[in-house]
Amino acid sequence: MNWVSSNLDLVWELTLAHIALSVPPIVVGFLLSVPIGWIANRFRLTRGTILVVLGLLYTIPSLPLFIFMPLILGTPLLSSLNVSVALTIYAVALMVRTAADGLASVDKDVLQAASAMGYSGWQRFWRVELPLSGPVLLAGLRVVSASTVSLATIGSVVGVTSLGYLFINGFQRNIPAEVVSGIVAVLLIAVVFDLLLVLLGRVTLPWSRRERTGSPRSARQRTALLAGGVS
């Protein structure tokens, strides 16, 4: 505990660096996966190929991938972009199948009804298919988030600052408290990210909750509604 109290600044600094390293791959991975998943579903023949090939990317060991990134991207050896891009690849590998399954899980009757109502293809995607696959997409995103936060630690091996530094340094100098605080910090980030995602789901997908009990807000709306116009 002594080590922690005297190195709080370092842990905090590394935590922020770790978050900065993890967030872009999660976001970009998600944004890439949804259209790729959509394309995979669109053309039945390509579905198998796309999903298997992208899924296999996850089996590439992370350390070699981090090391090879500068060769592929032409980036400097110590650039954090190497790790970001590699983590994005893993995020896509994890997310694409979920995205494809999520989009395919939308009730065909509902899609048919949407077309019959006069949604154009584009409107139908944004207003019906995407929101209705939301719960599945969110479940996939939570897995991607946890995976990315944990993988980002390996970045420290190739010299990109993250909480992984505490593992390496702690092992080398035999300071167990340092290693443990690294683990705890990584876990905390993963848990906080997960909670934020659950909260995001609550806000954006209110219809998917099991049963709505009359919240104060909905009660207020109902009163306003019964009194006359719709707010």
Partner: protein, 270 residues
């Protein structure tokens, strides 16, 4: 008026669902397409709003060839009610009803106010407006489906077996409601069902279909009952099973109507 002119639909797998079909659907009346599964009735219905495009032939609405119209715009001005309601599970009841007006650019506030009034029209309590579809019973969902079909105030309302999945009591209720609505609003309703009793109840014009969209008979329910065109029609409407052959039996001082099996079906009013 909707007019089918030698419409044929062959699906990519080679099935001919409809073969040179001709029919005139009169305005402001209910026309029921009735037949067993595979007779092409749903295909016919979906060709009206171009959910399905005919392989050949044309469909005219008030003299205008639908083939020359933009499908999305066409669909927005034709109401559509389907089996299992097809409501958007992620939109509240009120927003489901307001779907088409909002798509057509009506301001959200006005669309929602209008949708509220429509809930009254279809006999739904306004307190359901902010619920999600799955919080409603099957019958209530179906009413929301009807309200949604009416929201853009279309001249034409297409109904694809809308009451197929609700229990008999609720179905009878919804059928009466449909008759009441049609009387009041005077829409051109095209209704698809496999239930001949439903067809006779709702239809001003009934079209009995055989496999491949061949018309076995077109007429008012009374015409069809009085003169079934062939054995198929007679069997389909139940005339061959004695269900429609009624006779009068004197019971005390009342005339009771019984069918061929002797089952009483009603009392003749003086």
């Amino acid at each position: 008026m909707i007019e089918f002119r030698s419409v044929t639909k062959q699906f990519p797998d080679g099935t001919v669902a409809v073969d040179s079909f001709d029919l005139v659907i009169p305005p402001r009346k209910t026309t029921v397409l009735v037949g067993s599964s595979g007779c092409g009735k749903t295909t016919l219905l979906r060709m009206i709003n171009r959910m399905i495009d005919p392989s050949s032939g044309s469909i005219l609405i008030d003299g205008e060839d639908t083939g020359s119209l933009e499908p999305v715009k066409l669909r927005r001005r034709i109401g559509y009610v389907m089996q299992n309601s097809g409501l958007m599970p992620h939109r509240k009841v009120i927003d489901n009803v307001a779907t088409v007006p909002i798509l057509s650019g009506v301001p959200k506030k006005k669309a929602r106010d209008d949708a509220m009034a429509l809930l009254d029209t279809v006999g739904l309590d306004r307190s359901l407006a902010l619920k999600y579809p799955r919080q409603l019973s099957g019958g209530q969902q179906q009413r929301v489906g009807v309200a949604r079909g009416l929201a853009a105030d279309p001249n034409i309302l297409l109904m694809d077996e809308p009451f197929g999945a609700v229990d008999p009591i609720v179905r009878a209720e919804l059928q009466q409601e449909t008759i009441r609505l049609q009387d009041g609003l005077g829409k051109t309703v095209v209704f698809v069902t496999h239930d001949i009793d439903e067809a006779f109840l709702l239809g001003h014009q009934v079209v009995i279909l055989q496999k491949g969209g061949h018309i076995a008979q077109v007429g008012t329910p009374a015409e069809i009952l009085a003169h079934p065109a062939n054995d198929f029609v007679a069997s389909f409407v139940g005339a061959d099973r004695g269900k429609r052959a009624l006779r009068i039996q004197r019971v005390g001082d009342r005339d009771v109507v019984v069918d061929e099996n002797g089952t009483p079906t009603g009392v003749l009013q003086p």
